[in-house]
Symmetry: C2
Subunit: 197 residues, 2 copies
């Protein structure tokens, strides 16, 4: 059985690999801007589903396809990747010392059977200084991440704690994925034996 990650995110691929899953990567190429929603969890789910279905249409039916998408909800706003350094620094000046919710939609599909669920993790941001914000944004790392932060990179010291699954913040909730592949009738530990390319 092929395992296919329908996402270009290096963080998602690294998360799966560290957990013993070796997927192939096929990027969907869907236009994420086409979908909007006032609800962050619904938006993440819709984007994950769109990615998953676009890739599932390209491969054999019995491949396991995994699609994910992440957004940060903060004070009623929804944030994907920042448009640039100015937006990233501005977001950090808002969120520092406060908490947001990182929503990641997960969609799995195999043989036309599909399961879709969003995991949500509360993220507590450290009250970092303007100097730290500028140094962090200057590294370029937060520019590629939903909510302009990384918890698994240089930003790790700038998140004081979370409530929920850490891997969900990185971009893919392993315990949720274990549940969803279980819904498809696949034992999680059996996936450890699958060798990707």
């Amino acid at each position: 059985m092929r395992i296919i990650l329908a996402s270009a995110s290096p963080a998602r691929l690294a998360t799966l690999k560290a957990a013993g899953i070796q997927p192939e990567v096929i990027v969907s190429g869907v236009n994420e801007d086409r979908i909007t929603s006032p609800d962050a969890g619904n938006l993440a789910a819709a984007l994950a589903q769109m990615k998953c279905r676009a890739v599932a249409d390209q491969v054999e039916a019995d491949a396991l396809v995994i699609g994910c998408d992440s957004v940060l909800a903060f004070e009623g706003d929804i944030f994907g990747k920042p448009a640039g350094p100015v937006e990233a620094a501005g977001l950090w000046r808002r969120i520092r010392g406060h908490s947001g919710v990182l929503h990641t939609g997960h969609c799995v599909r195999r043989n036309g059977e599909e399961y879709l669920e969003t995991a949500s993790t509360i993220v507590h941001f450290a009250d970092i200084s303007d100097t730290e914000i500028d140094a962090y944004v200057a590294t370029g790392e937060p520019l590629h991440m939903a909510g302009a932060f990384t918890i698994d990179g240089l930003g790790g010291a700038f998140v004081t704690g979370i409530e929920g699954d850490h891997h969900n913040v990185v971009g893919l909730s392993l315990p949720l994925l274990r549940d969803l592949v279980g819904d498809l009738g696949i034992a999680w530990t059996d996936l450890w034996a699958v060798t990707g390319s």
Copy 2:
């Protein structure tokens, strides 16, 4: 300024490196079994302090030395690394579907000035099957970890969520370390520029 990690843990070194810190590693060689305490947080702190001081004694005074030690507290018991596969599997049959607290003691020392603090993270374990426990223990991975689990490896899918800092569960809390080096008068982002060996 030299940055020295007084720990043999590959997970702690990887955590620091991912966060932009490139320490040298000097293993203290202290006998951890010499110290006992009925309080898990105090025990982790005492062990971290012992490691930190043993290494600080070997290097120049202005080196920044970081010592850490982790234990899992569960239902009144304290768990370090399991003695072997049978103990690891037995612990998992107790903790699955329940929650424990992972305590990591952190000690930083430079020029004779020292700060010591324990970070504690609640860990919620998935209710995994006997088959999953056996498959997980058979990989050998949990045998080297306090509490017989990894959150950053194959065990990632077996932790449904946490409350607190994820990196603390891996073995070193980045936000706490940022605070402690701040107490020593060192700006966290300045450490990004230090090149280790």
